[in-house]
Symmetry: C2
Subunit: 137 residues, 2 copies
DNA sequence: CTTGCACCTCTAGTGACTAGAGCAATTATA
DNA sequence: TATAATTGCTCTAGTCACTAGAGGTGCAAG
């Protein structure tokens, strides 16, 4: 049995975040002490660690909610699970592609700036005129 | 002279977004028609296009606010401008690094899954146990 | 003159928390 | 046992950059 603080230390999830997860129904309401404080069973630590790790890997809370539901049915096919993960992978790849293009553009801007006055600054110039860019973003 | 709709079409910034930018002081309040509708000078198009392009390149509205202020003083050194852009570049690079690590981890998870039942799903397993990962995130 | 689109203000919602106020319960120390 | 320190509680509001919707008004074409 754990207080919210201990659960927090155990999982690395901050106390207000745990309460937030309860509020949005990602964690079910735990028992309370006589004084009204939350008391968690040890197993909640597993669930919370799962949530934390999935968040670190970039899954949305909605995806996590679904993953948790799926993981409660061990005999089902894991196709749906893998589908969510694949979608997440594609998302990540898209973001990397986009950010890589931005990086190139930013570097080009900075490299071309002669570092004199604002009136001749290449950064300002390019920001004001997308046709000076090499690709769309 | 432009109505808000024309300004929107000219710059590709949505009407509510233009009003939002006015609300937070990124665009100054334009004149109004007798009926109370906003009427913009052509020059606002430049400013708004600058904002849009900077947003597309990932700058925050706070950074953009500062860039706009700086760009109004053409004779100053552009060091401060370039500083903001450099910071932004570093941010982008950090995000790429992080996302690349996530991508690796996600791919590993998916590759290792034998695609049978949830109980043996590698995705669920790894999400529940970070020690199965190859790096920190 | 009427139709229909564009425009107006204001409020609330998004995601995933975070901060803070003001108070109650529990635990550690004296 | 008394007190102090820590931890817990609820509730509200703030973050960022918008977006959606309600309920109303202005304006231009036919
Ligand atoms: Zn410069
Ligand atoms: Zn561009
Ligand atoms: Zn699987
Ligand atoms: Zn991990």
């Amino acid at each position: 049995m754990l207080t919210i603080g201990k659960l927090s230390r155990l999982t690395g999830v901050k106390v207000p975040t745990i309460r937030y997860y309860e509020q949005i129904g990602l964690l079910s309401c735990p028992e309370r002490s006589e004084g009204g404080q939350r008391i968690y069973e040890m197993a909640v630590g597993q669930r919370l660690s799962f949530i934390r790790h999935a968040r670190e890997l970039g899954f949305s809370l909605d995806d996590i909610r679904e993953l948790l539901t799926l993981s409660d049915e061990p005999d089902q096919s894991c196709a749906a699970v893998d589908e969510i993960a694949k979608r997440q992978l594609v998302e990540i790849e898209k973001r990397i592609t986009r950010l890589t293009a931005l990086k190139t553009e930013m570097r080009r801007m900075l490299d071309q700036c002669a570092c004199q006055t604002v009136s001749t600054c290449r950064v300002i110039e390019v920001l004001g005129d997308h046709t000076l860019c090499t690709d769309d973003h």
